[in-house]
Amino acid sequence: MSVTAPPQAPAETGAALRRKEDTRLLCGQGEFLGDVYRPDLKHIAILRSPVAHARIRHIDGSGALTLPGVIGVFTGGELAAETGEFSHHLPMIPTLRQITWSVLATDKVRFVGEPVAAVVADSRYIAEDALELIEVDYEELPAVSDAEAGLDPEAPLLYEDWGDNVFLFMPGSHGDIEAAFAGADGVLQERFTHHRISGLPMEGHGALGEFDPATGRLEMYVSTQVPHTLRTVISDISGLSEAKIRVVAPDMGGGFGNKAHFMREEVLVAVLAMRVRHPVVWQQDRTENLLSGLHSRQQVHEVEVAYRDDGKILGLRANFVVDVGSPELYILGCAPAIVTTSVVPNCYDLQDYAFELRCVATNKGPMGGYRGYGQPQGIFLMERVLDLVGERLGIDPVTIRRANMIPDEPRPYVTATGSVLDTGSFGDQLTELLEAVDYDAACGARDEARTAGRLVGVGIAQMVEPTAPNIHGLAGRFGGYEMAMLTVQPDGRVNVAVGTKSQGQGHETIYAKVAAETLGISPDDVEVSDGDTAALPYGIGTWGSRSAVMGGGAVIKAAQQVRDKMAAIAAGMLEAPAEQIEASDGFFRLGEAAIPFAQIAAVAYLHTFLLPPGMDPGLSVVVGYDPGNTSPFPDERGKMNVAATYSTAAAAAVVEVEAATGVVTVQDLTIVHDCGTVIDGVLLDGQIHGAVAQAVGQTFFEEIHYDENGQPLTSTLLDYMIPTFGDAVRARIIHRETPSGLIGGFRGAGEGAIIVTPAALAAAVHDALVPLGVSITQSNLSPPRLRALLRGHSTA
């Protein structure tokens, strides 16, 4: 079929594209999961629990089997008998309930949307028709729809053998918390609440599996941020060797951390592909996505803060209660909450800090990772505490932050929880922010507006983000390293394969750039592939702002090794020491003499007699890169350095609240951001704009609702509102570039803006409402929530 020409020859055609990815995506030629075509592809539809909590008495799929086009109906009990089980792989944490679960529910369902049975059919239409013919006899049980209610001794039990609903209990105590409180001039007690939201990638989860019985090989296409580690999990449960499994993550319609877990449905696809001996595909629809794939953020923090009258915070005690929903998710759904506890001290010199974390299983969809990964809540806590203590003492937000800030020296600075901070100056970063927004003028304008009866507020917040973390402590394996393969082909073009997986970040473009810079060639000559386990031994995937740091570091390391070999070949040809050879602009140079890059490549493969004596042919390396500065587990004092490096940011927001409607207008948002060496400023700003929109969404629009019976009330995009065009906030972005000590100097980006922005917005809304005496201690500032807060407060 021919393609219609555009109306007229476009003037800009042929202009350079911003990213290598752009052409195919702009033309609708990307290959997303749903675009992967196999002849004879069969479709999986999943029957999900309509009730929040029940025993499964009986499932009868015989009716569904009679429908023409249905190939099979599968239940949890039947599949569980033949497959391995999921677990969290953390037996070393004694206060974590050790549970196992299967690809489908077996004896019980614990949330609306839990997968109960699966149909494989010729088309999705038939498969979904067949779901209606499966009969399930549920013995309904009372539901737990709130974490704090779930702690009540009388609460229904999700797992009877636990005796309560506490999935994880984790205490921590750092410094001398008793002494800190004994020496305090005052104590602030506060309660902060964070609501439940979803990452909501525009493309939901999905997987396609094809099993070849002749070779025993399984090929999986999965919309996942973590193809290699998923391969390990598929191997666990299917029983196939990893050598027989290939996982490919094709183009992805977003992930945002939701796709950094191992969904039971993904493994179900693998198991069914082996059972039915047809290629099979499951594509999560939007309702499935909102019910089960995944939720984030919901926490309650009760804090006590010991402070001195000069504004110095001496100690902080916190009780974290986290609504993890169904705990049957690997990687551990309470992993973000563990991160919350660890980031509370933020960029402040707070060494006396104690907490108790309770992650409560409830009859809701599973909680998991979402961009920011527990950090927005921890940063919100500390930033609100500073403002509230400052308000009590009559100290302004800037002064109280400076009074508590980690000093510029020494570096590294070790936080209470063990983070080894290698960051730049927090004080200078704040100064840059205040100058950028003309803070005093902004406060003056606010005062004028206030005099005129308008609710205008100015708020600031700061954050330090552990980036490129080690996942071992949260997953019981995998680690924090990355791998890359780099091959210079005989024609001098370069292939790079990495173990990270872009979900829109533009990795093909940035990895090509860093490889090309190292090799002294053009990025146009570098092809990058990611997300294919066949291309590289292993990889840890994309999450935790780690790709530039670890993937970039691995690519540069690989490029250095190949460049050095090519320099040695050039040195042989030029009869000079290799150390004197430089690679630039597509040549290996020695003074005036220069040999084209492609010519060296040809020697390495096509004219190998020209190689230096003893040198092997070929120009290809596989490297692993691990800076080795992270901890796999906490030490005996409960401290660990989770991250290879740290990014920082500070944000200032100016907002106006309309009291009658509860609508907040963001008049200005400025972010000073330090992710170390910047690879591509335009792509980086794109990451920040996207994270800002998600922060605005979670603050003013989004909430996953359940009723008291555990019935979800937000199962479509008509109920779960995300920002659209008119809601765009155009943040002013300023970059500081303090290189890390790692390869490339990168610190990692992508999450900083969603971590710091909610706290800045809350501070600004709080400030706007000062005339009404309303205090902001919650993350949800949507119009109805804000109106509820304002009720009873005079707006006169």
Partner: protein, 157 residues
């Protein structure tokens, strides 16, 4: 099964479908036009937008039998690698796409706007586009790209 004939990007397309089959599925599964994406299948997100007789529709909410005799235009009929439409070029230049899943729907929705109003204001762009959701870009650079197209729309379209 019902036989349906329509024009697809200027070519004749003929399919036999069940009356309940959605246009999105016909385009993707029968006609290999996979640029329209299923983002919500509830008509809320706009990722499946195609033009039917010049008007943007949610192909996830339209039955294929409804387009008999119509002209359907998909992203595959807008531009091609090496010959991008100005909207596509501008989206790249201004980094108005990240994952690219919503992008075909964005391009078609914008195309309809520019074909009726070559110089839309920012407000008009934001209002017109508001039925298309994007989770990556925060819309900032999409608007920037469309404003750039609007500024030179007379020469380019």
């Amino acid at each position: 099964m019902t036989k349906v004939r329509f024009s697809l990007n200027g070519e004749v397309a003929e399919v036999e479908v069940e009356p309940r089959e959605l246009l999105l599925d016909t385009l993707r599964d029968r006609l290999a036009m996979t640029g329209a994406h299923a983002g919500c299948e509830q008509g809320s997100c706009g990722a499946c937008t195609v033009l039917v007789d010049g008007c943007g529709v949610r192909s996830c909410l339209m039955f294929t039998v409804q387009v008999g005799g119509s002209e359907v235009r998909t992203i595959e009929g807008v531009g091609s690698p090496g010959s991008l439409h100005p909207i596509q070029q501008a989206l790249s230049t201004h980094h108005g796409l990240q994952c690219g899943f919503c992008t075909p729907g964005m391009v078609l929705t914008a195309l309809e706007l520019f074909e009726t109003d070559p110089h839309p204001s920012r407000d008009r762009i934001e209002e017109w586009m508001s039925g298309n959701l994007c989770r990556c870009t925060g819309y900032v650079n999409i608007v920037k790209a469309l404003e750039a197209v609007a500024g030179t729309a007379e020469e380019q379209l």
